[in-house]
Symmetry: C2
Subunit: 233 residues, 2 copies
């Protein structure tokens, strides 16, 4: 009997935002696979599940995904990861790979899932709470209501998508916005949208949580999202 591979969204930071399903599968898995950029790197996803799951006696396996610029290099990393996981599945072990937030939202795991599934192994995806949902809850703001739409843009670098979103849609979420708070302010000015329409959601549910106005003087971590509500808050 071959093992099964689970891709698990562990949510955005608060261990209690794990789902009951994620906890059940993690508690029962033989191996917890943890994506890292470099061997030995601290994994936020692993820190999230540690207080609420049974990890004792389990193998914790680091799976390296280098943030290479070269698409070929990234693909080789993903294929190596799929090989590594397939070996464990061949031994009949069930493997749960954890990923921050939701597994369908900008997760490298999805490529691995595809490679492993194509080789005939059984796989299952378990959704998690995306950071923009927990951020909106923490700020007490709806992402969208009534007949409104929402656009999610991965970062300010996708500036064409961001400009179209601000120009044409009611609500905009900008992810990985930490280094670009000033630029977002400029774009709001350009489209005559008051800066008060934007709310920074940084490290929600983690230490150093900041929920507040665009403040270009402050430093923000990688885990920073900006929610823009053009009709106001």
């Amino acid at each position: 009997m071959k093992g099964k591979l689970y891709g698990i969204g562990v949510g955005p930071g608060d261990p209690e935002l794990l789902t009951l399903k994620a906890k059940r599968i993690l508690d029962a898995a033989d191996v917890i696979a943890v994506p890292v950029k470099e061997k030995g790197e601290k994994s936020t996803a692993l820190e999230i599940i540690r207080p609420v799951t049974e990890l004792e006696g389990k193998e914790i396996l680091e799976v390296v995904f280098r943030m290479a610029r070269d698409e070929g290099e990234r693909r080789r990393c993903r294929e190596a990861a799929a090989d590594q996981l397939a070996k464990l599945l061949d031994q009949g072990r069930n493997v749960a790979m954890i990923t921050l937030g939701d597994v369908a939202v900008y997760s490298t795991y999805m490529y691995v899932n595809q490679y492993v599934a194509e080789r005939g192994y059984e796989t299952e995806l378990i959704p998690g709470i995306p950071s923009f949902c927990s951020g909106a809850s923490a700020a007490g703001l709806p992402l969208m209501e009534g007949n409104e739409s929402l656009v999610i843009v991965p970062s300010v670098r996708e500036s064409e998508a961001l400009e179209r979103a601000i120009a044409d849609f009611d609500n905009v979420v900008v992810m990985k916005a930490g280094g670009s708070i000033g630029r977002i302010g400029e774009l709001l000015d350009k489209y005559e949208c008051p800066r008060e329409c934007a709310c920074v959601l940084s490290c929600v549910g983690m230490e150093d949580e900041y929920i507040g106005p665009l403040n270009p003087e402050r430093e923000y971590s990688y885990f920073t999202t900006v929610l823009i509500k053009k009709k106001g808050k």
Copy 2:
């Protein structure tokens, strides 16, 4: 001591997609408030939490939100709901109001939360898994990857927003799409996007789950979402 009001996203259908936090708060709450359109109506949100939470001995309170066309009528409903909840909070009881999916995604609860918070009561929002996340997981598809964006449109009736989304963005989620599968196919044709780029996600995790191509011959329920991936699946 006044009670506290919790707004809880219970996820899209599978009871195991409740978060650990939602379960803890529901288990401890004095009153479970259930939004309904009419008194005595069956609540999907209540059916979701029933198998995984401790409801015995708890008051289950129906809160009526009529789907009135008139904005004034809707506001009166929300204010009446806030009155109803405030009375319980004045008695020192903790109230958990449940809502399908995520509490920040098209949830009537957000209005009530605002009214109750404005009156000085303590409130807290607990995010839930949105239906588009569980649908993507069930279909094995990413919502977005790499530098892609995602637009979420509430229904095909918002046809201007939908057309802009299909014209300008990589990935589009159309919610409440059950009655408009044919219309979505026509829009894809208009923008020369192959119909195979669309995946219907209907009743995910419920009975009558359907995950598959746009099929205008079939009947779809209210819980139907369409995911359009313009770059293909």
